[in-house]
C-alpha cells in the first residue's frame, strides 16, 4: 500500500499537468511541454544527487548529448548538409525514427555517464561538484565548436517536432517510474545508506564507489532521454544547454526538496509553473482583467531569489525530503530531511 501511494503521488502530478496541458490553447501548451521535459531532467538529477547526496553540475551535459544524439539522427537526410555543413560522412547518411532516436539518446547518456563516472565517482563533496562542472564545460565547449559532429552554434532546426503532450508526459513518467524502481531496489537503498552515513555504510560492506557509479549511469540515461524529448520539442541550440539550464534545474530540485522523488517532481512543476508564468508575463499577459507586463529576466530574478531563500530557511525543500504518506505524521523533531 505504501509503495502505491508513494509512486502514485508523482505520477498523478505528471498526469494532471499533461491533462491540463491538453485543455489549454496551443500557445500556452508550449509552457506545459517545456515543464514536462524539465520534470524529466529534474528526476534524472534526483536519481543521482538525491540518492547519493553528492552534488553534480554535469548532468546538463548528458541532456546536451541526448539532444545531440536525437537531433543529429533525425534531421531529414536532405537537409543535413544545409543545417550542418561540416558534418562527418557517417553521420550524414544515418537516420532513425522518433522512437529509436529517444532510445539512442538514453543509451548515449548512459554510456557517457558511465564512462565519466568511472574515474569521477571516487570524488565527493566539493571536488565532485567542481569535477562534474568541468565535464559540463568540456561537453559544451566541444559541441559548440566542433562542426564535424553537429550544427555547432546553430540550432537543431528541422528536427521533427514529435514531442507533443503525450510524448512529453510518457517520457516524464518513464523517468519517474525508473527513479522510483531504482530507489526502492537494494542498490538504491544501499546508496541512500551511504548518503546518511558513509562510514557505517562502508562498514556494512557497501561499495560507495559502485553504488554511486550505478546511480550516475542510470541518471545519465534518464537525462539523455530528457534531451531527446527536448530536441523533438523545439529547435534548440547547444548554448541553451549550459549554465542557465543547470541553474534552473538545480533550483527546481532544491526548491522541491532533493531528498525525495516527490520533491523533485513538485519542485519541477512549481518552479516550472512560476517560471512559465513570469516568462509569459515578460511578453505581457492579461489576468482577471489586469494587464501585466514585466521587464525581461524577472523570472530568473524570482527563481534565483526563491532558491536562495529556500536554501537559507528551508534546506529540505518544500517537501522536506519526504514522500507522500497516508500515515499520520509521528511526533518528532523535524530534521533537515
Amino acid at each position: 500500500m505504501r509503495r502505491v501511494v508513494e509512486l502514485a503521488a508523482p505520477v498523478a502530478l505528471v498526469l494532471a499537468t499533461a491533462l491540463l496541458g491538453l485543455a489549454v490553447s496551443t500557445a500556452l501548451q508550449t509552457y506545459f511541454l517545456d515543464t514536462l521535459v524539465k520534470v524529466a531532467i529534474v528526476v534524472a538529477l534526483y536519481v543521482f544527487i538525491g540518492n547519493s547526496g553528492v552534488l553534480s553540475f554535469g548532468h546538463i551535459s548528458f541532456v546536451a548529448l541526448g539532444v545531440w544524439t536525437a537531433g543529429v539522427l533525425t534531421v531529414p537526410e536532405g537537409q543535413k548538409n544545409a543545417i550542418m555543413p561540416g558534418i562527418a560522412h557517417f553521420l550524414l547518411h544515418t537516420n532513425v525514427g522518433n522512437a529509436w532516436s529517444l532510445v539512442l539518446a538514453a543509451a548515449v547518456g548512459l554510456a557517457f555517464a558511465f564512462a565519466v563516472g568511472l574515474p569521477l565517482m571516487r570524488l565527493s563533496g566539493l571536488a565532485a561538484g567542481i569535477a562534474t562542472f568541468g565535464v559540463l564545460e568540456i561537453v559544451n565547449n566541444v559541441l559548440r565548436y566542433d562542426d564535424r559532429i553537429g550544427p555547432g552554434l546553430n540550432a537543431f532546426s528541422s528536427v521533427p517536432e514529435t514531442t507533443g503532450i503525450w510524448q512529453a508526459a510518457i517520457g516524464a513518467l518513464i523517468c519517474v517510474v525508473v527513479a522510483y524502481a531504482y530507489q526502492r531496489s537494494r542498490y538504491g537503498r544501499q546508496l541512500r545508506a551511504t548518503r546518511e552515513d558513509p562510514a557505517a555504510a562502508s562498514a556494512a560492506g557497501i561499495s560507495i564507489y559502485r553504488q554511486r557509479l550505478l546511480a550516475f549511469a542510470v541518471s545519465g540515461a534518464l537525462a539523455g532521454l530528457a534531451g531527446g524529448l527536448y530536441v523533438h520539442l523545439l529547435p534548440i541550440e547547444i548554448d541553451s544547454l549550459y549554465l542557465d539550464l543547470t541553474f534552473i534545474t538545480l533550483a527546481m530540485l532544491v526548491v522541491g526538496g532533493s531528498g525525495s522523488l516527490l520533491g523533485a517532481v513538485v519542485g519541477a512543476l512549481a518552479v516550472g509553473g512560476l517560471d512559465s508564468f513570469l516568462s509569459a508575463a515578460e511578453n505581457g499577459v492579461d489576468i482577471f482583467g489586469w494587464h501585466l507586463n514585466l521587464p525581461t529576466d524577472t523570472s530568473a530574478l524570482t527563481v534565483g531569489a526563491l532558491m536562495a531563500l529556500v536554501l537559507v530557511y528551508r534546506p529540505g525543500g518544500l517537501t522536506g525530503g519526504h514522500e507522500l504518506s497516508l500515515a499520520l505524521p509521528r511526533f518528532r523533531k523535524d530534521g533537515d530531511g
Partner: protein, 296 residues
C-alpha cells in the same frame, strides 16, 4: 604558435588579475568552506559602477572609488544575508547557494542595466600602448602586473605579520580548534570577506580597463577559469591558490593570444581536463585539509 611581447605582457597581467581573484576566493573558502561562485558577479557590479560613473561624467578616480564602495557593500551584504546563515551547512549546499546568488545578481543587472552593456570610457587611456625600447605594450598590462605584485606582497605581510592574518590562517587550517584557542569567528570571517571584497574591486578595475564593455555576464568566464585555477593550486592555502590562479591566467593568456582561433576556442576543454586530472590524481582532491577529511 607565435608569442609577441604584447601577448607575453597581456598573459602576465591576466595571470596577475587571476591570482588576485584566486586569493579572494581562497580566503573566503579558508574561513567559511564556501566556494564563492558569485565572485564574478561582485566584480561585474564593480565594473558597472565604473561604467556608470563614466557615463555620468565623473572623473576616473571617483568611478574607482564608487567601484570599491559598491563591491565592499555588496560583499558585506552577501556575507550577512547568505553566507553566515549557511555557515553550518555542507560545502556542496553552500556552492549551490552561491550559484543561485550569482544568477540572482546577474538577472538584477539585466533588469536594471539591460543586456547590451555600458562602456567605461574613462579608463580608455589605460588601453593606449607605451613604447618600451621599440616594443609597444598596453599601459594596463604593466599597471596590472605592478598592482597585482604589490597587492600580493601586502597580503603576504598581512597574513604572516598581523594577528588577524595569523588568525585567518589558523581558521583555514582548523576552524574549530582555532575558535577554542580564542580566535573570534565573526572577526575572522568579517576580515576575510572584506579583503576578498577589496580584491574583487581591484580586479574589477583592472578587468574593466582591459575590456571597457561592461555587460551582465562580465567576468563570468574569468571566474569559472579562476575557480579551475584555484582548484589546481589548492583552495585553503593562500600561496598555492595564488600560484594556481596565476598559472591558469598566464596559460590562457599565452594560449589564447598565441594560438589560432580554431585551436584556442578549445581552451576550456584543456583547462578543465587538467582540473579533472588533478582532482583524480589526488583522490581526496586538493580540498582535503590535513588529509583528515573524507577518507572513505
Amino acid at each position: 604558435m607565435t608569442v609577441t611581447w604584447q601577448t607575453l605582457a597581456d598573459a602576465l597581467s591576466l595571470g596577475g588579475i587571476y591570482a588576485l581573484m584566486a586569493v579572494g576566493i581562497g580566503l573566503v573558502f579558508g574561513v567559511l568552506r564556501l566556494v564563492n561562485f558569485a565572485y564574478g558577479q561582485l566584480i561585474m557590479a564593480g565594473a558597472y559602477a565604473i561604467a556608470y560613473a563614466s557615463v555620468w561624467g565623473w572623473p576616473s578616480w571617483a568611478g574607482i572609488l564608487l567601484c570599491f564602495g559598491v563591491v565592499l557593500a555588496l560583499s558585506v551584504l552577501l556575507d550577512r544575508l547568505v553566507f553566515r546563515p549557511l555557515r553550518t551547512h555542507s560545502p556542496a549546499v553552500m556552492l549551490v547557494a552561491t550559484f543561485a546568488i550569482a544568477f540572482l545578481l546577474q538577472s538584477i543587472a539585466v533588469l536594471s542595466f539591460g543586456q547590451l552593456g555600458t562602456v567605461a570610457s574613462t579608463l580608455g587611456p589605460l588601453n593606449q600602448p607605451w613604447d618600451i625600447g621599440g616594443v609597444e605594450i598596453r599601459k594596463i598590462a604593466i599597471v596590472s602586473i605592478v598592482i597585482a605584485a604589490v597587492c600580493l606582497a601586502l597580503l603576504q605581510l598581512l597574513l604572516t605579520r598581523t594577528s588577524v592574518g595569523l588568525q585567518m590562517r589558523a581558521a583555514a587550517m582548523d576552524f574549530r580548534t582555532a575558535r577554542m584557542l580564542g580566535v573570534r569567528a565573526n572577526r575572522v570571517i568579517g576580515g576575510a570577506v572584506l579583503i576578498s571584497g577589496l580584491l574583487a574591486a581591484i580586479s574589477a578595475f583592472m578587468l574593466t580597463a582591459r575590456n571597457p564593455q561592461v555587460t551582465p555576464i562580465f567576468a563570468l568566464d574569468d571566474t569559472i577559469i579562476v575557480l579551475a585555477g584555484v582548484v589546481l593550486g589548492g583552495l585553503n592555502r593562500p600561496i598555492p591558490a595564488t600560484l594556481g590562479g596565476f598559472t591558469i591566467g598566464f596559460a590562457s593568456g599565452i594560449l589564447g593570444g598565441g594560438l589560432p582561433t580554431n585551436q584556442s576556442q578549445y581552451l576550456p576543454t584543456f583547462l578543465f581536463g587538467a582540473v579533472i586530472l588533478v582532482l583524480l590524481v589526488r583522490p581526496n582532491g586538493l580540498f582535503a585539509r590535513g588529509g583528515s577529511e573524507e577518507r572513505l
